[in-house]
Symmetry: D2
């Protein structure tokens, strides 16, 4: 049994609390949040208790912390937990600043604690099937990759203003998937964007609609289109065209009914939002972390993966800003 404390009792904290409570290999002990009352409430719902951060980090009982606080606190919490010898499962991203993220990663590496970044889409069965097919060589040499990430509504402008921009906030998960599925890394990126939904998006220096082209180390090309607000729910999709076959993790409709009328057939729509689409991935992601702790091995998505995705996002952001293609360097 892994004894895990939860840091952060907001929306995503609630999601993780449920996974912690129902995972048979986890003892879910404490919840911490700067808002003590909501931490107590969440703890109570799952038979855990509230504890202050210092107490959690000092507790011999607690073996690991799950960081589900706001992004700007991730790095310092990783460092504090690492220095306390706790294993860490951390929501993405590590930090909006690559330098801050890297410093946290260095601290954790030096402390020798296992850290897993919650790239939970890796645990989506469709994306996992893509990776498996690539690894088995069933797709052949990869030549073209197409990704779409499209959300149902524009986040508040205030959120966008501090989000780091579409590449760091929305595309980053697909930058990770791209590397993870293909086993390749991008060597350069060109991105173009527009603020079509609301002119205020441009005023805070962001875009809401964009396309990025990434050139992979083997010469393959990848395109990622991103929309903050589409008219038809939530949509993400990946296809990989190789020398042996093309495989698609297609649009997922919410069910299998069909209505046949005069001149048209109507089937079920896409998910309402990102959470409905990936809700099922949180529990297995946590389970991978627990398994890694039990078996004393590295968890599948570590700090290096988190840093790599940020490097790509930073380069894509630079391209958006300069209007020029940008080479991606992975050196320290």
């Amino acid at each position: 049994m892994q004894n895990i404390a939860l840091l952060g009792a907001g929306f995503i904290g609630h999601v993780h609390a449920k996974s912690l409570a129902t995972n048979p290999r986890v003892e879910f002990t404490y919840v911490y949040d700067t808002d003590e009352s909501r931490a107590r409430e969440l703890a109570a719902a799952y038979g855990a208790s509230f504890a202050p951060l210092e107490e959690i980090l000092a507790s011999d009982r607690v073996g690991a912390v799950l960081i589900a606080t706001s992004t700007n606190t991730h790095a310092e919490l990783i460092e504090a937990a690492a220095q306390a010898g706790k294993a860490v499962f951390c929501e993405k991203p590590i930090d909006l600043s690559y330098e801050v993220a890297e410093r946290a990663a260095t601290t954790a590496r030096e402390a020798g604690v296992p850290v897993m970044i919650d790239f939970c889409r890796r645990f989506d069965p469709a994306y996992a099937s893509l990776k498996k097919a690539v690894e088995k060589g069933e797709i052949g040499d990869i030549e073209l990759i197409q990704m779409s990430t499209r959300g149902p509504s524009l986040p508040p402008i205030s959120y966008l203003a501090s989000s780091g921009g579409q590449m760091r906030d929305q595309n980053i998960y697909f930058f990770d998937l791209l590397c993870w599925i293909t086993g390749l890394e991008p060597v350069s990126v060109y991105a173009e964007g527009s603020a079509l939904v609301d002119p205020e998006v441009a005023e805070v220096g962001d875009v809401d609609t964009s396309i990025a082209i990434l050139r992979m180390s083997n010469g393959a090309l990848c395109q990622i289109d991103a929309q903050r607000r589409i008219a038809y729910g939530y949509d993400e999709r990946i296809e990989i065209s190789g020398t042996k076959e093309m495989m698609e993790a297609g649009r997922q409709q919410t069910g299998w009914t069909k209505r046949y009328g005069q001149g048209s057939v109507t089937s079920e729509g896409l998910d309402a939002g990102w959470f409905e689409r990936i809700e099922h991935t949180f529990a297995p992601a946590l389970d991978e972390f627990v398994g890694a702790l039990e078996e004393g091995r590295e968890p599948s998505a570590g700090l290096a993966d988190g840093l790599r995705a940020q490097r790509i996002a930073d380069a894509a952001t630079e391209s958006l800003q300069t209007g020029l293609p940008v080479t991606i360097s992975y050196d320290a």
Copy 2:
């Protein structure tokens, strides 16, 4: 080159005229119809000429006739053509009366002329794929067959009154497909029907909605549902479940566009009517007849096939009328 004359210049005569005119192995010479003016008009459109029936049958030039007249004249035209030594391509069915049909078949057999019944659905690529998969053993032993035949609108009551009933008029083509695809014959049939669209359907002794169960010689079971008027265009569908796989010749939508809206995905509807669905089968059916004549072999759907389908339709009709299952006998 096969020199072929067309008998009948109605709707289906026009369909065949086009096939005759565009088949490179056919010399399309004459058109006959009791309505001479429509025969002349059709002939002119394709560079053929009108000729009286007797002249066509007496002509040394004409090698075959294509019978596309009204059903009640098929049998006597087959006989006349056979006695004149002409090969025959005849619209289905041979005759509504099994005895009359059988007599015509006997005459043709004695005259030794090749006769093909236009079971053109056999030339639909989807149904042909089903047959091929069965023949190759890919489906395994057949255990269950499901067929749907559903039309967009009720034919006129006057037509129904002389049509022989839903089994002989609508289901018969599927009775043929059933035997042809599976290589099996039904040994008994039970059919149940309702007149749901219009009470006058019942008044003329017919049904517009029915389900038939057929027991095949190997113990497999087949269901055929038939509707004269559905709300969603024209629909036919076949699936065959065997010990190795299940194969479906599915509903055919008219195109591949999809519209993604809030909560639903709309794709294209089914065909408007039977003609849109099977139009592409007429030319290859004629081509098979021409090929058989050229190669001196039996055409693929002969008089025996036509008679067999009628036996099944007769038994199904008897079941509808008696409310009891009926054994099907294939002896003379």
Copy 3:
């Protein structure tokens, strides 16, 4: 909070234990089974405790029992629970004998306790959508219904020998769905079957492949095909053709990936078995029972529904045995 005890700690008992333990409105107290050790084990896994049947029925704390024992004990447990004043949630069917089932129903009715039969497929989103569309009049007048129920493997012959036959053991859930979705009842049934998978199936008086035709009270016709062992996993499907549209609760593939190769596109298969297909329906079914108890109303699938489905199954079984259509009477 409803205090519910579980009777039966076999496979389906485990399924219900999970629902009981995770339903926030349920206090899951006791587990009983004739095999005390497996009852204790199951109870321990969910923080409940073992108790003998008499103790459960005598306990003031327990408000309801969930009967998940073997079918032949359902009726007497319903009676005992009813006489002890406990509400009952009972696995289907009530009893293989209509008379025994009816006696239990009468006892429960007289005791005035709410009883829900676990027709959990009613809580499948696709089937619930069908019902909703029918109720809203979107399908129009129902004219034709098609149902398929096809399993992946033949149950043991010993199981079949005491199962009551395919109609009572497999089709019965679809007889309930048919009435529930359409709001209509069948007035007669004709069924035909074959033992194609194993000759021993015939030796115990059963069939493994069957088709039933049911005539509904409004003249609509329904066909239900049933296979015990298909080659392609587990398959169930319903379509309803009405005067306004046709709606299909279609085959459910296990995911949304597609692989494009030379000449074919491969997508994901169907569920492995019935449990994978309907696992998600158990929790909402229990929740409906709990809601009915809280609100003091009848649960949605009661004893009368259970008895009706059995009447239809009995008539279908009689038709299989006599080879004749059978009228269904719903009078006592």
Copy 4:
């Protein structure tokens, strides 16, 4: 009746000959080709006759010419035909050199003859549906467009060497569709490409795999991926995401059969090549030309459309070569 002569008796000439011969409003008179014997052969197959170019252009009988010769002769034939007062239906592109193409366009404009460029994909029902939905405002404001054009095999290197490159040879038809469907024009383009199939592709200065991003006049973004050789037949696809809905002209499978096996469902593959995919568009494209001549109006795809597509292709080619985004200017 429009009297039309065919110039060019190669593969595409044969395709057009069939359309000319079967169009009821066309009198198909002459065929010309530098290879007289193949011109005579083609003419004979359709009841036309061979004539030298000068004779065709001098003939009072001939009202229009269909130019289906090799690309490098298009411009001079347009000019010759225009000067002879003949209407022109010309295979795409006008010329690989924008200047040459523009000169031919000017000559034709000055001669006042109607000219139609064979952008036949506009007559594909799926693409026409996209345009109609855009025009009706059903898609709303366009924000993102995704196009794929992927072929089954690498053309000969010798062909590529003189083709003008992937943008001018393969993407150009999609540049036209982009403008035609959306009613928008691109203002800039960035393209990136690789030679993955064969290093010789790079040696002749071309790419076989590419992605282009186009920024449209309203700020919408378009991506076009192009592959010369994919593993799964021939594939083209367009989707348009707008403020009201997203519409997709999806991948077209060759039929509607499905095979259900253990763990997978196999359906039919894509077309074998471009010709199978768009064969049905040639006849309606010609028919539009004939209709325009009869009605004395401009045909739907004229010289300006051809020049515009070439401007875009030239800019995309420049981007491929410089590695930088390129502004597209439509001024003379």
